[in-house]
Subunit: 425 residues, 2 copies
Amino acid sequence: MSIGDGGDRLARVALTWLTEPGNRVVWQLVQAQGAEDTLKQIVDGDVPDASLRTAVVARAGLGDPRRVAEVALRRGERLGARVVTPSDDEWPARVESLATLELDIPGRFNRDVRPPLCLWVRGGRPLGEALDRSVAIVGARAATPYGVHVTEDLAFGIAEQDWTIVSGGAFGIDAAAHRAALSAGGSTIAVLACGVDRPYPMGNAALFERIADCGLLMSEWLPGADPLRHRFLIRNRVIAAAAVGTVVVEAAARSGAMQTMSRTVALNRHAMIVPGPVTSAMSVGCHELLRRYPQTRVVTTVAHVLDEIGKIGEYIAEPARVAGHTRDDLDEESALILEAMPQRGTLGPEQLAARAGLALRTVLQRLSLLETLGLLTRRNDGVALLPAARQGAERTAMPPPSPLSAPANGEVVKANPEGQPSPAD
Amino acid sequence: MSIGDGGDRLARVALTWLTEPGNRVVWQLVQAQGAEDTLKQIVDGDVPDASLRTAVVARAGLGDPRRVAEVALRRGERLGARVVTPSDDEWPARVESLATLELDIPGRFNRDVRPPLCLWVRGGRPLGEALDRSVAIVGARAATPYGVHVTEDLAFGIAEQDWTIVSGGAFGIDAAAHRAALSAGGSTIAVLACGVDRPYPMGNAALFERIADCGLLMSEWLPGADPLRHRFLIRNRVIAAAAVGTVVVEAAARSGAMQTMSRTVALNRHAMIVPGPVTSAMSVGCHELLRRYPQTRVVTTVAHVLDEIGKIGEYIAEPARVAGHTRDDLDEESALILEAMPQRGTLGPEQLAARAGLALRTVLQRLSLLETLGLLTRRNDGVALLPAARQGAERTAMPPPSPLSAPANGEVVKANPEGQPSPAD
């Protein structure tokens, strides 16, 4: 660690303490001029934002930010916690996507969405590596036995496939996800809204110690920081951004898990929902998310989750295969449309319908989907394949007919009207 | 009933017996030259389709089609069943949408999708009027107590709002839907895959009598016809087409209810799914439908169903309001985009993003949705409002911020780091 780097690290810790994480103005200043100059500017009272200024003035009365940061770093060293910053190899690149997150809602929760300045970590594994293949599983504190059971099944199965589980530190779904991942001998990360030395809730203290031993505890806040109410909502953006995708298992209406999922959707991450009984208050939020966001996907098994997140995982590893995977998931009509497209050049929708043997209406319906998936594009002179679909076409055979398209009953029409009733409805 | 009309009616009954309902070739001939000439042509052996010819030859050996139809009509008269044809005022117009249904799957279930030639009806209310405001509720025979409970809640509440319930005649979800509608003093229609005089399954015999008294029994098949296995799958298209929308409550994998829903989707009808525990085999089909068809909507309450089907109902009653309703359901970004659009002329996506105060990426994502909803169109020189959106803009105020956008916790940042933990996750 160079002196300059140490200065940057210290300044990031000090800025986090002085301004709370995620602040747009602070993050922008740090991007423009670095953490040390930003800290100096703010400590000197030059804060270009009224509400931030109020917060900074109140904080500054509690101590010198650099001194607070030094104490925190020493405290962290004593308890085996390190500070990770963007200059470290283990910095998780995915959280940088918060740089462009726009929630389009007024007020503070849109203001506090920028990437972390630094992350406190307890545990042996490099943070970035652990998050590289990771799935967040979040949900209600007051989970039902159903929710806990499904969470355990999913987290165990996903962890077994060498994917890291990410969650908060709450009772209920969070704790169930961590426990199941640990049972599977897998990796799990608890993203806390307080210091990594603060076992909150206390009832999960032993669990946090096991996570620190076998996985990672992670937080934006300084050791000793309290789990204030608003911090959980600010923390949620990091869960959504750090993981490849997020699964919500049970969520009450207007819950934190719903908020995490809204950020997942805004970040264009894989947004997965486990449905539940419509009679359960703990599934109301899940169903509401499915109704609200067409981008969310129902998942009910480990295979569904792996299928969903696998697209990105394999995209990183082997870009050429992503299209093939997307194609495998297409409905039959969309697959027929892709098959009918010429590898180069364009085709009008009517010609396309004729070549695919589909109704024009069906073709027009599917074009939006295929465009959204990045497989086709609409140009002035017609529809054209995009490179992803071309690679896919070279690699992927026609998907097999879907189960829906091939009813179990394939018998031919019986000419004789007499027969044994064996209805299929 | 004129003689000519009587001849048409008789020919339609005879053709249904001779060729089974839904046959493409037969329906096309009837459209082109009428039922009587088509019957004559087929009886004379001029059948322009090999598999149909085989079926007709086998049937014709069982009796003279006209004579069979005469006997059926007399039998129907005795048991209070009437034949309804397209020339009757009570013919349900919506089933004619089957004229263009294309399933894009090979084989017989794509062949047998055309509109009914005639419908047998038992019960006092005019069929078309009863189906005008109707919702199909279908699902598993082997329903769980959960599925029966939810079905009862939905069917009772929907029937109370003066919507007719439509379902099959099976045990489980079908029977629960009818019973609840009758309990509510509402209207219900059982669409059978056998003669309206054949109580199948026998255990529902008393229920069918109550339905005939207070609602309608309806079938394409002649009195006395057996509930053959393939008939249930052919029948399902009529349920999907006759109702404004279809709700699937519980469905096993590859079940008849899933097949009904695939037709609902293909017909662009409101396709609604009630989720359930992912641990229940009886909800597997529901979740699979949600995963397979982006057009399907999660519904968990009577209000959700009424909201969904109400759009069409109000469209018929008051076309100008449909856009307003669509707009109310839009996510906030999409609403902002619509607000930002000029009433006339076009705007490029970049200008639109600037005017809406949104990221370009967000705008591009939302354009497909808005286009699908028929609110915007993409032209060579940019994006333009469609008339539906213009009417909506004149009638609809900005939707209120969604619950998700306004977290319960609206407190300002506390400058003091000490506070009572009351986390929100």
